[in-house]
Symmetry: C2
Subunit: 430 residues, 2 copies
């Protein structure tokens, strides 16, 4: 019995997509959509779908941080089940090879998804066969638990390499963190414009890790909150408001350099060019929010629901006037509004590159939507996040806290990017 | 304080999208994607994205059944908490108005998402503001529980209107059904090419139902298994195999008429032009499957993993030769393979219109992917599904059963479509 089609060779993503080039790829996409106009049998126009293109894997920094946000997320946190240094190094090397392949639209492995011996499991699980690269990025972060165990003893010979700033996250007022949805020795963020491509990436990395690392939790997301590029329309969160209007945009090179990347003087050396990743799973009390008046919703946010402009006036990107008053002489921007308490002016200038996604996990046992925001931010120093979250947290602060609850939390140090032959975190083991 | 922007009027989806027409809409889509090529500042080409277009709501049949499958699903099952006939009629009328609005890319309500009194909750929850119709369809089905209570007593005065065929689904060998993921008095299937649009639709319908119906369970899905149009490339399930090669295609008018729509002679009269909807939440044992050899995977499915051609030879759409033998003299198509046991030739000719979606709900407590297939099929008679499922179910039958488990089940009668002024299920109350 041959491996495939009687021709004895695998059918790889590269072969499928490479045969006819990008024009044909895009035409295929348009052709599928053309099914809606079923009476129209004219050939679809040949256009390149930018959402289908690959993102470069190699670079000074990892992709997936200042890459303009893709539409979909699959995030996973893993715990290392091995204690062997060489086993960890081998895992990181194998993961890097696989990530390099998948982000460029290829199968995992050397022989194509269904190549190799038919008596072995396929090297690639196959569900992305025929799908384009879809803007896939795969970004890795290392948790404190990879460096030290619960007693503070070094793991994997990584003595002295734990960044001072990779501490346990402080607790914040109102936190209701679930340990099973928090932490992790390693985080992997897969973003793509097709959820099947993101799922395929995480699944294959998890499979490669079998016997060395196991999944702690994972999270699907959609909706591209917060917008990270000035070329993107600001997306809306599940409260119906635009989210990320004042986010750092990846085109703002100085802000990115000042607030996102770890510098030489920050240390440690292995992390220079990297960034700290903070995740927060934030449940939204959707049904309660939906019964709040428009006036109330806008006062809580400090912005209008329609355009997203500040309550002090102007369009979405207008400067916020925190001193403006309304016709009753009250502050136009409520003193406890989300936009005010999160603003750099009230946080010693701290800014984050937010890169979160909406999620719907189905329904909870009370018949309510189990939905919210999987908050992701990248920053040069976790203290930036801590500053802002301290400002927001607690029922005496951000008015929004009546409608949200933080149930998961993570902090990871993301190493710099790799070259054509390097591997994730290689400087840790040099 | 004004409702929005100081101009005292709402910003609706219609206004946002209608202003510049479809060309601008599509250009906006391409413009967002053009962020990837950040050095290129030339204006994006103006093309119509077929995935963004609206699907007609009115018709002889409900949309969302023979509509070529969209990319994303949000499905919800609700239980009626009212016992009042007029309250149910009002709910169905309000839902129909809202579905008509949302499928055409408009806000729910008469005043735009943020219109109306600022001291009332917004009529529309707002998270789809600025998004195109995205091929949204909303399809309703009625469960047995809407017609009779647990003791068989009629509800809502619907005496004599319960279809004989809307029975409790028989149990199948190997079923491990969770009552909390099964049944429901009413089902709503929202499909769209943008998950935010599908989520928005269900959320607003659930909100409208407050006090009259509550959510029993809900399910997100992606990946368009099974393919329902000959214009679509066959999608892959999470076992990595093409799914739906031999599915009824919506272009096959005779098969659709024979196997999907309820006819006059089938009765009852109110259901003519409608269809029966079967749902099955099927968990996949992903990690176990991924350790199965390619030979094993292909034998179980009866098809090759690459092209999806039958193991008896030929390409994806080649006729299956169940009598073919391999070089060892054994049947090329295993007698217990999925493709054989599900085939019409071994099921008295029974066929279904499958319209399922892949799902990933995150991870389970064992660190495994909580993933699988949310199976959806439409058929003229539930007996078609029962015939095939009886053929498949149990460890002595379909080899695939070692890797899947059915955890949820639903059966609903979907009324015919509505005209420009009608409402879902109106003939039940005539």
């Amino acid at each position: 019995m041959s491996a495939d089609d009687g021709a004895g060779r695998g059918l790889s993503r590269r072969r499928l997509l490479g045969a006819a080039g990008l024009g044909a790829l895009a035409a295929g996409t348009a052709g599928a959509g053309a099914g809606y106009a079923m009476a129209d049998t004219s050939p679809p126009p040949v256009v390149v779908d930018p959402d289908a293109l690959p993102i470069r894997f190699e670079g000074v920094h990892q992709a997936g941080i200042v890459t303009p946000s893709q539409d979909r997320l699959y995030f996973v946190a893993l715990d290392l089940t091995t204690e062997d240094r060489n086993s960890l190094i081998a895992l990181l090397k194998q993961w890097t090879v696989a990530a390099r392949q998948m982000t460029q639209g290829n199968d995992v492995g050397e022989m194509g998804a269904v190549g190799g011996s038919p008596y072995s499991p396929p090297e690639d699980t196959g569900e992305a066969l025929g799908l384009p690269p879809s803007g896939l990025t795969i970004t890795i972060g290392f948790g404190r638990g990879m460096f030290v165990d619960d007693k503070g003893k070094a793991r994997f010979g990584l003595d002295g390499l734990l960044p001072d700033r990779l501490t346990d996250m402080p607790s914040f007022s109102g936190d209701r963190l679930d340990d099973a949805l928090s932490g992790g020795d390693i985080a992997i963020q897969a973003c793509a414009n097709d959820p099947q491509v993101a799922v395929h990436a995480v699944r294959n990395l998890v499979r490669i890790a079998f016997g060395r690392a196991s999944v702690r939790y994972s999270q699907m997301g959609f909706g591209r909150t917060s917008s990270t590029s000035s070329a993107q329309v600001t997306a809306r969160n599940l409260f119906g408001f635009k989210d990320g209007t004042n986010n750092i945009k990846v085109e703002e090179k100085k802000a990115v350099d000042d607030f996102v990347w770890v510098h030489q003087e920050d240390g440690p050396a292995w992390l220079v060019g990297g960034s700290y990743l903070v995740t927060r799973k934030i449940d939204m009390r959707i049904e309660t929010w939906d019964r709040e008046s428009l006036t109330g919703q806008q006062a809580i946010m400090g912005r209008t629901k329609g355009s997203g402009g500040p309550m002090s006036g102007g369009d979405e990107f207008a400067a916020i006037d925190f001193d403006a008053t309304n016709e009753d002489g009250e502050p136009a921007i409520d003193l406890k509004s989300h936009v005010r308490l999160a603003h750099p002016d009230f946080n010693n200038g701290a800014k984050l590159l937010r890169r979160g996604y909406n999620f719907v996990d189905g329904s909870n046992g009370l018949g309510q939507l189990s939905a919210g925001l999987f908050f992701i931010s990248y920053q040069r120093d976790p203290a930036q996040f801590v500053q802002i979250q301290r400002s927001l947290a607690g029922l005496n602060n951000d008015l929004l806290n009546e409608y949200i609850v933080h149930v998961g939390s993570g902090l990871f140090a993301c190493p710099p990017g790799v070259g054509p032959t390097g591997y994730w975190g290689e400087k840790l083991f040099a």
